[in-house]
């Protein structure tokens, strides 16, 4: 029995040491990516190509989800607010929910599962088929040539996608509240404009999306680069990207929110 306890404790210790080691490895990899970003900036064509795959190909899921989330917010917001006779505030509710929380968070979650997993799978497969090793043998650094352009494309795409998500979501809320239910159009917009502050709500939301974009793409490229070069390795890495990104997004969101929206508004 004591032996089992000891081995249990050893297991915990082993896991803790392992994950700390991995965290350090990931941080070092992240720093290397930043240091070796010169190539991507000099040859911006590399980043543009990746912008197509991470940004443009994520557009459909982002726009459609944004529309539906906005419509649901409009409907639920109306349901609740009309009990207090405040249905004209539905625009405010939709806009603030989207700009502060739902836009950045949901867009980042969708981005992680659409683009993040694709980045991991692509880099992992390049590793499994020895493409990264071949590049290394050709005296081309895979971090500069493969990892950094994908990283920067993700960092650029994320805020734009989240802005689109929020804009389309607000339009969805408008469709439901004003066009379908018949809330007064003037008060919908004016109450929204009265309540939404550019610096406080919009800029803070954009800062969030930047942080999420860095987190998701950093996780995605690291998992791909670190994947064991087999089919199981790559599929495991893809799953880890989505799970780790989701946890990182939600955790970071709490931290950022507590710093940004403290006791005001």
């Amino acid at each position: 029995m004591p032996r089992r306890i000891v081995s249990g404790i050893q297991g915990v210790g082993h896991r803790v040491i392992d994950s700390i080691w991995r965290l350090g490895y990931a941080s070092r990899f992240f720093l290397l990516t930043l240091l070796k970003s010169g190539t991507s900036l000099r040859r911006f064509g590399l980043v543009i190509r990746e912008l197509y795959f991470t940004g443009v190909l994520s557009l459909i899921i982002i726009v459609v989800s944004g529309l539906f989330v906005g419509m649901v917010l409009g409907l639920q917001g109306y349901e609740t607010l009309q009990r207090y006779g405040a249905e004209s505030a539905v625009g405010t509710m939709v806009a603030l929910s989207l700009l502060r929380e739902l836009g950045p968070v949901v867009a980042a979650l969708l981005f992680a599962s659409r683009a993040g997993s694709a980045i991991t799978a692509e880099i992992g497969l390049m590793k499994a088929t020895e493409q990264l090793a071949a590049m290394e043998m050709m005296a081309v650094d895979p971090i500069a040539r493969v990892v950094a352009p994908r990283f920067w494309a993700g960092v650029i795409s994320m805020p734009l996608l989240a802005a689109l998500f929020s804009a389309v979501g607000i339009f969805g809320g408008y469709l439901v509240a004003v066009v379908l239910i018949g809330v007064d159009e003037g008060s919908f917009w004016s109450q929204m404009q009265g309540a939404v502050d550019f610096h406080y709500d919009i800029v803070n939301g954009v800062i969030k999306t930047f942080v999420f974009g860095i987190a998701v793409t950093a996780i995605a490229v690291f998992e791909g680069y670190d994947a064991s070069p087999t089919a199981e390795g790559v599929s495991g890495a893809t799953t880890r990207t989505v799970v780790t990104s989701a946890l990182a997004i939600l955790g970071l969101d709490f931290v950022l929110t507590s710093f940004m929206f403290r006791g005001m508004g």
């Binding site: 692509e122 497969l125 390049m126 088929t129 020895e130 493409q131 090793a133 071949a134 590049m135 290394e136 043998m137 050709m138 005296a139 081309v140 650094d141 040539r145």
Partner: protein, 269 residues
């Protein structure tokens, strides 16, 4: 010694506690095709990785063109790698680039040549492997043999001094096999480079190489020209060349006595 491109001296390498190479000595001169043969897991690919500077030896050294590989700094190593290339087992073509862009890859990364000159060079390299017509295809659309040929065109893109081939014959049909074999020989002669072929395809490689090294248990077990190898009476070489099941390389992995493992001992006593 100036004509010796590669000099390997008392090379040891181990993964953790497991010793892979235990004192390898080799010299390879310019313009030759050299085969390194040995059973699976005998450390042949590791030897290539050591020559390319991808891993560090535990002791001993590899000298390429007079420089000790593991003493080079990263940019010096990268500088040296521009003069060598490696053909990976399944080609390792960049799946997101077309055949043309794959061959042009190193030219675009390492030179400032104008695009029109790159185009001419790429077409020349593709012509050399007979695939000029396939320049617009993506790697996914190529057969195994074609992919291997494109990879070959890519590896001669910058006219290297040395090409290393990691199992170039694996998984090819007999026609493609002959095509690749002859290409290796022809390109080596035409470009005056050195080729190191790691393989266990004995018959095909004996047709094209100048020298053969046999690696077994981390040391060079035998060495010679193809004719010497064919006529060799050394038991290991004989077993390997003729593909016999049992010999110095035993069919059985070292094990306890069979009866002990089956716990038969004393049962009938």
């Amino acid at each position: 010694m100036a004509h010796e491109l590669i000099e390997i001296k008392d090379l040891h390498f181990s993964y953790g506690d497991r010793a892979i190479l235990k004192g390898i000595n080799m010299t390879m001169s310019r313009g030759k095709v050299i085969a390194i043969m040995g059973g699976s897991g005998s450390g042949k690919t590791t030897l290539l990785r050591l020559i390319g500077g991808a891993v560090r030896p535990s002791s001993g050294y590899v000298k390429v063109a007079g420089k000790v590989v593991h003493d080079l700094k990263r940019d010096e190593l990268f500088q040296m790698r521009r003069k060598m290339s490696m053909l990976f087992q399944f080609g390792a073509l960049f799946t997101d680039l077309s055949v043309f862009d794959n061959v042009a890859f190193q030219m675009r990364e390492h030179t400032d040549l104008p695009e029109s000159m790159i185009r001419d060079l790429v077409l020349m390299k593709l012509e050399a492997v007979g695939l000029r017509g396939a320049q617009d295809l993506m790697p996914a659309a190529l057969s195994g043999g074609m992919a291997r040929r494109v990879a070959l065109a890519r590896s001669i893109a910058l006219d290297p001094l040395l090409i290393m081939y990691d199992e170039p014959f694996t998984g090819l049909d007999p026609i493609s096999l002959t095509v690749i074999g002859n290409l290796i020989r022809r390109l080596t002669d035409a470009l005056g480079m050195t080729s190191i072929v790691v393989t266990h395809d004995v018959q095909e490689s004996l047709k094209i190489v100048d020298h053969v090294y046999f690696v077994a248990d981390g040391v060079i077990a035998a060495y010679g020209t193809p004719d010497e190898v064919r006529g060799s009476v050394a038991p290991f070489v004989h077993q390997f060349v003729h593909g016999e099941e049992d010999g110095p390389v035993s069919f059985h992995y070292p094990a306890n006595a069979y009866a002990n493992d089956l716990k038969l001992e004393g049962r009938f006593a």
